[in-house]
């Protein structure tokens, strides 16, 4: 090695080596985590080398995932990059989420696939026609992006949802369609949506309920509610997606006044519960799962309302916090989530002697999800198809 006249400066080398070796030591010493509360997902675990994973080259990729998932202070890094992108660079959207004004995060709705949407609408019309004796009602709830326009980032493109929802309502036959867009716009200052989650609040659900109730011939004014705040530290899905953690949401529940004993049964569990609230979830990241414990194929709520009405609620997760308003009005509520339920609509309607049918979705899921169409395919359609 040539002798150095001057002793060379090695500041950067030392800095680099110290930083990387510190993180290597931390990586070795710190125990691996199974789950990320902030991201609400399972973290990658140490990959196991096998001859298959080595020859197919998956080992390297698995190891990369493991290393970055288990990297020390993972949440702090993601906050730092969020800060750089939003504060320094002024970016207004991150991972499909608008960084709105006052820390309001909003899901950017996906483009609907026209053909599959058309199929879905026809399927709903066919069910309405076949079961004419049942009261059919549908409510597709606009997402925050369409309502909280005052909180959108400056110059964000105008929401397409109002137009889409208008088009949808016009294509229904024989089913009462409740469009709450105008009502929600009028009440947009009342915290109808969470700031950090893609769901609506109980307040939003209640407002929609007052509109839907009259469409469903329910005397909603009779019931008074006790409103409880059950959490003030909720950071929902949009927080996780965007990496923005500067705001805590409050979760409220609306409990009907008076005695309304109910029993809740989940098709994917043997336990029965006396409440739609599963308070254990308030101690987790996924606090919205307080309502009915998240999504299940079928949830059956049996009440003592004695109204001779049985409701089938076909829904996505928006309906989970809507169920609390329905319990005083139906003897039984069958809540079906077609994304997880593989039964057919015919079978369920006949099995439970349904008198009322309500579809409740948020617009983004309604326009993109395809499982509803499969669920609604009628038995006669099936036999026709098999003949072909």
């Amino acid at each position: 090695m040539p002798s150095n006249q001057k002793s060379p400066k090695l500041w950067i080398t030392c800095m680099f080596m110290v930083i990387v070796i510190c993180f290597d030591i931390i990586a070795l010493v710190m125990p691996d985590k199974d789950f990320s509360e902030t991201e609400n997902r399972m973290l990658a675990q140490a990959p196991v080398a096998s001859s298959k994973s080595i020859t197919e080259g998956t080992l390297g990729e698995d190891a990369e995932k493991y290393l970055s998932d288990q990297f020390a202070f993972r949440d702090a890094w993601s906050n730092l990059s969020f800060f750089t992108r939003s504060m320094l660079f002024g970016q207004k959207e991150m991972n499909g989420v608008y960084i709105g004004k006052d820390g309001f995060l909003m899901l950017i709705p996906s483009e609907p696939a026209r053909e599959s949407l058309q199929k879905k609408l026809s399927a709903i019309n066919a069910v309405t026609e076949k079961y004419g004796e049942i009261n059919h009602c549908i409510a597709v709830i606009p997402n925050a992006e369409a309502i909280m326009t005052n909180k959108l980032p400056s110059y964000a493109p105008a929401s397409k949802q109002p137009q889409q929802l208008d088009d949808i309502s016009r294509s229904f036959r024989g089913i009462t369609c409740c469009n709450v867009s105008e009502l929600f716009k009028k009440h947009r200052y009342e915290e109808l949506y969470y700031h950090t989650d893609h769901h609506w609040t109980s307040r939003g659900a209640y407002l929609a309920f007052t509109a839907i109730a009259s469409d469903m011939q329910i005397q909603a004014d009779d019931t008074q509610y006790d409103i409880y705040t059950v959490s003030d530290s909720f950071q929902g899905t949009l927080s996780s997606k965007s990496g923005s953690h500067g705001y805590n949401d409050t979760i409220e529940i609306y409990v009907p006044k008076g005695e309304h004993p109910i029993s809740v049964r989940y098709s994917d569990s043997t336990e029965t519960s006396g409440s739609i609230y599963q308070k254990d979830f308030l101690n987790t990241k996924d606090k919205y799962a307080l309502f009915l414990g998240g999504n299940h194929p079928i949830v059956t709520i049996t009440t003592t309302a004695d109204t001779d009405r049985t409701l089938m609620l076909i829904k996505d997760s928006y309906a989970n916090c809507f169920a609390q308003f329905l319990t005083p009005y139906f003897d039984q509520i069958i809540i079906v989530d077609p994304r997880y339920c593989y039964d057919s609509v015919d079978m369920l309607i006949n099995q439970y002697e349904i008198t009322d049918l309500l579809y409740l979705y948020n617009a983004d899921t309604f326009m993109t999800d395809t499982s509803l169409t499969d669920f609604l395919t009628l038995e006669s359609d099936n036999s026709e198809q098999s003949k072909e």
Partner: protein, 466 residues
């Protein structure tokens, strides 16, 4: 293995540096080769077989060429050289262009060609460079198979270049000056490249993809230009960042590769642009295609044909799509106009104005480059010049301007030599305070890059409940 992910930056690189310093000089090439083979095998062990075959074939071909050259057997030498070039080209064509070629002549393809091996466009060009240089007598072949294998597979440059000329690198493989100071300089370049790629190019890429997802039929002039600018700067930061990392890695291990980008967006003509953009590729085409065809020392007509060949090939090298061919021809046309029609006229225009128009012409070129097909490129160009679409500036345009304006300005300023010259002026100062500032700045870049490296893997996993 990716240079911009955790394993490389936090494990592979520091371990390589330490091992390298601890290894006796005689076996350092062997160590680098082993590290390089591990680097390739990490992501795709199958590529190791292909690269191995390429190494064996080209090693023996180069030895044979050396032998024939010494024995002055010109015809045999030419035959061997032609075979060698054909074999390397065939490899590249099979993996990269086979399906494109079949589709172009109207044959539908119903079978899958294996995935394109990493760096195939780069290592086949390196191999051809070796064969040509040995055949011309510019540089004797590398007798030691370890040395030759290292030339092809050095992990710093295997994935995305630069395409270092054989005659430049072979000497350094045989003997190179290794100082601790080169590690220092190499790491600086590496960190600069890492942050260019992860912080700036990554963020610009997100903006560009958002614009590209917009409905083209109703795009305003402002949105179209912003999209094109996002892409132009993203591409520069991505590729020049990568080159900085590769050159920095070379430096760490004692190599001195010439720069691959030299502030291309301050070029004052298209000819100048191609002296500053992807320099190693331009040099390769000049040395191994243009000059062998006769270069410019031929009739004007022949010269134009030579240039056309070079630019069609340069276009195609970037990918198997007609858009790349059109992009190559676009640059050919600009260069010819400059060379034959505007030479004297350009001299009269102030330099700033020439720089501005050269930049705009390059941006227009990139819109052809990023389009998936010719008709998309055409519609996009129409929007940029106000035909169709929704006017000069609509709210979507304002949105991208407010959302990406700061980053864009930062990126444009960073693409000029301003920051670099400021940095080197501070760096030259010997005072501890100045050194502390520089070190803190690089530490900030390293930590910032780490933040983007980690958070880009934050999965957009939605709850099961949505």
């Amino acid at each position: 293995m990716s240079l911009t992910r955790v394993f490389f930056v936090f494990f592979f690189l520091p371990a390589s540096i330490l091992l390298y310093r601890l290894t006796p000089i005689k076996v350092r090439n062997a160590l680098l080769l082993l590290l390089s083979l591990f680097f390739i095998a990490w992501g795709s062990p199958a590529d190791l077989i292909l690269i191995g075959l390429s190494i064996v074939f080209n090693y023996f071909t180069a030895l044979e060429l050396d032998e024939l050259r010494r024995a002055k057997k010109v015809r045999q030498k030419k035959l061997v050289l032609a075979t060698g070039i054909a074999a390397n080209t065939a490899l590249l064509v099979f993996f990269k262009y086979f399906i494109f070629l079949l589709n172009s002549i109207g044959i539908g393809v119903h079978f899958a060609v294996p995935d394109v091996p990493i760096g195939i466009s780069f290592f086949t060009f390196s191999a051809i460079s070796c064969l040509c240089d040995v055949s011309n007598g510019n540089e004797p072949a590398l007798k030691n198979p370890v040395d030759f294998a290292l030339y092809i597979s050095f992990f710093g440059k295997i994935t995305s270049g630069p395409i270092v000329k054989f005659s430049d690198m072979a000497k350094q493989i045989r003997q190179r000056n290794m100082t601790v100071g080169s590690v220092e300089g190499g790491l600086k370049l590496f960190i600069v490249g890492l942050s260019k790629k992860l912080i700036i190019a990554g963020s610009l890429g997100k903006l560009f993809h958002a614009v590209k997802a917009e409905d083209l039929s109703s795009m305003s002039v402002a949105t179209a230009w912003l999209g094109a600018l996002f892409y132009s700067l993203m591409l520069y930061y991505d590729f020049s960042g990568y080159s900085d990392m590769a050159i920095g890695l070379g430096k760490i291990f004692g190599f001195s590769f010439s720069k691959n980008f030299d502030h291309p967006y301050i070029s004052d003509s298209m000819t100048d642009f191609w002296r500053r953009w992807h320099i190693s590729l331009g040099a390769w085409f000049r040395d191994y295609v243009y000059i062998p065809l006769g270069g410019s020392r031929v009739s004007k007509r022949r010269n134009i044909i030579n240039l056309s060949v070079v630019w069609v090939l340069t276009g195609l090298w970037h990918g198997a799509n007609w858009t790349f061919v059109v992009w190559g021809l676009y640059h050919l046309a600009l260069l010819l106009i400059e060379k034959f029609a505007l030479k004297n006229f350009l001299k009269m225009i102030p330099r700033m104005i020439r720089i501005f128009f050269t930049f705009i012409l390059a941006v227009i070129g990139w819109t052809i480059f990023f389009s998936d097909n010719i008709s998309y490129a055409w519609s996009y160009l129409l929007r940029m010049f106000g035909a169709g679409g929704s006017g000069l500036l609509d709210s979507v345009g304002k949105y991208y301007l407010t959302s990406g304006g700061i980053l864009l300005m930062t990126a444009i300023i960073g693409a000029t030599p301003l920051l670099a010259s400021l940095g080197s002026r501070i760096d030259k100062k010997e005072s501890t305070a100045a050194q502390l500032c520089v070190t803190a700045f690089f530490a900030l870049l390293l930590l910032g890059s780490t933040a983007f490296m980690i958070s880009d893997t934050v999965s957009s996993f939605l709850y099961a409940q949505f």
